[in-house]
């Protein structure tokens, strides 16, 4: 992962580190690697989501370990150096700066939400559409609902899943959620 870090410009890397810290502080549900990757690719940097995810995991692990062991900024930088990793200078600078500012606020206590081995629901976006024509039917009035779910996976990275439902499916979907809510009320 170290050699890929050198591809990331300093300001993007700083933003990534900020998001990681905010995730560790439970201020945000996860790190938006997909979106960051898209922006990196748009500015001409060749990096895949998988590679960025590995980097995110590594840096997250670094910060959370440092928090658990109460490392000072100097200790952290020394550890980085002695671990034999060949991090580019600008990355080390960012890590030093971020840790200096934020280390006190990183709490390592587990909160209830982190125990999951499944993704955590973050947000839902939706769209209601009507298809008017297709290559198979010239004249249609076919309503459908499109939904995008943002989910933070256990490692804290946010991915999204988009799918379509027919109206009867949507009605069933809604009904099931109301049932879930009703059950949650009673337990």
């Amino acid at each position: 992962a170290a050699d890929k870090i050198s591809l990331i410009p300093q300001d993007f890397f700083a933003e990534l580190c900020e998001q990681i810290i905010q995730h560790l502080n439970h201020k945000i549900p996860g790190v938006n690697t997909v979106e960051l990757c898209r922006r990196l690719q748009t500015s001409g940097i060749e990096i895949s989501v998988g590679e960025l995810a590995k980097i995110t995991n590594a840096v997250s692990f670094l910060f959370s370990t440092a928090a658990r062991n109460n490392l000072s900024t100097e200790d952290l930088v020394t550890t980085l150096g002695s671990a034999g990793s060949t991090l580019p200078k600008h990355a080390v600078q960012v890590i030093r700066h971020v840790w200096n500012e934020q280390s006190k606020s990183v709490s390592v206590s587990e909160d209830v939400g982190n125990m999951a081995t499944v993704g955590q629901f973050v947000d839902m976006k939706w769209k209601l559409g009507v298809a008017v024509s297709s290559d198979t039917c010239r004249s249609l009035k076919y309503p459908y609902v499109t939904v995008t779910l943002n989910v933070a996976d256990p490692s804290g990275q946010i991915t999204d899943k988009t799918f379509e439902m027919t109206i009867p499916q949507f009605k069933n979907f809604f009904r099931q959620f109301k049932e879930m809510a009703a059950v949650l009320e009673t337990v």
């Binding site: 209830v112 939400g113 955590q120 629901f121 004249s139 779910l149 899943k161």
Partner: protein, 198 residues
């Protein structure tokens, strides 16, 4: 726009050699449902039943496919409209039989076409469960209700052909996130009512 070219209607006359009306009906259904790429194999299977040469079978199957798809594309539902597609001198009984079969099936076929048109991945199933977290290695006692939801999503049918890929998405929701979801779904329901009333 004519439904079929001249020669294609001629090819349909091969149906006169079909063993029964039921066989014609089945062939119509198979020809509609088959994608263009599947017409070759379909023709080979149909060949012996209609005692046609491979070329005649291929032309017949292609013509039936075009005719049935055309009717669905144009949304024709009346007998007059379907009958009008045929040339003046077309075999009367065969024309009437085909029109009858087509009208019987057109609504099913339209649904089939809509179900397989291009779309984003579709939701095919959902399962859920409510759990209560009672303790963990860091918190001794708690009673936190939580929802586990599993959505089965099928990738675009048009891209997967006959073996669609279904992926499962498992998501945990807390009471708060469930309320967020419900709020969003409620707004969709309101919009649906507004659209339905127009």
């Amino acid at each position: 726009m004519a439904a079929l070219r001249e020669g294609e209607f001629a090819a349909l006359r091969g149906l006169l050699k079909a063993p029964s009306k039921e066989a014609v009906r089945q062939l119509c259904q198979d020809c509609f449902s088959s994608p263009p790429a599947g017409l070759g194999p379909l023709a080979q299977r149909a060949c012996p039943a209609i005692a046609a040469s491979p070329e005649e079978a291929a032309q017949l199957v292609a013509a039936l496919h075009s005719l049935t798809r055309h009717v669905v594309y144009r949304g024709l539902t009346r007998a007059e409209d379907v009958l009008a597609l045929f040339p003046e001198d077309f075999h009367q009984n065969l024309k009437n039989l085909l029109t009858k079969i087509i009208l019987e099936n057109v609504s099913t076929w339209r649904n089939e076409a809509q179900a397989s048109q291009i779309s984003l991945p579709r939701l095919v199933d959902m399962d859920w469960r409510v759990d209560i977290k009672t303790s963990s290695d860091t918190i001794n006692r708690m009673a936190v209700p939580t929802c586990l939801l599993q959505l089965k999503i099928q990738e675009d049918a048009a891209l997967c052909g006959n073996s669609p890929v279904v992926s499962a998405l498992t998501v945990e929701l807390s009471k708060e996130t469930l309320d967020t979801m419900l709020e969003g779904l409620g707004r969709i329901r309101d919009q649906l009512s507004a659209v339905a009333n127009k």
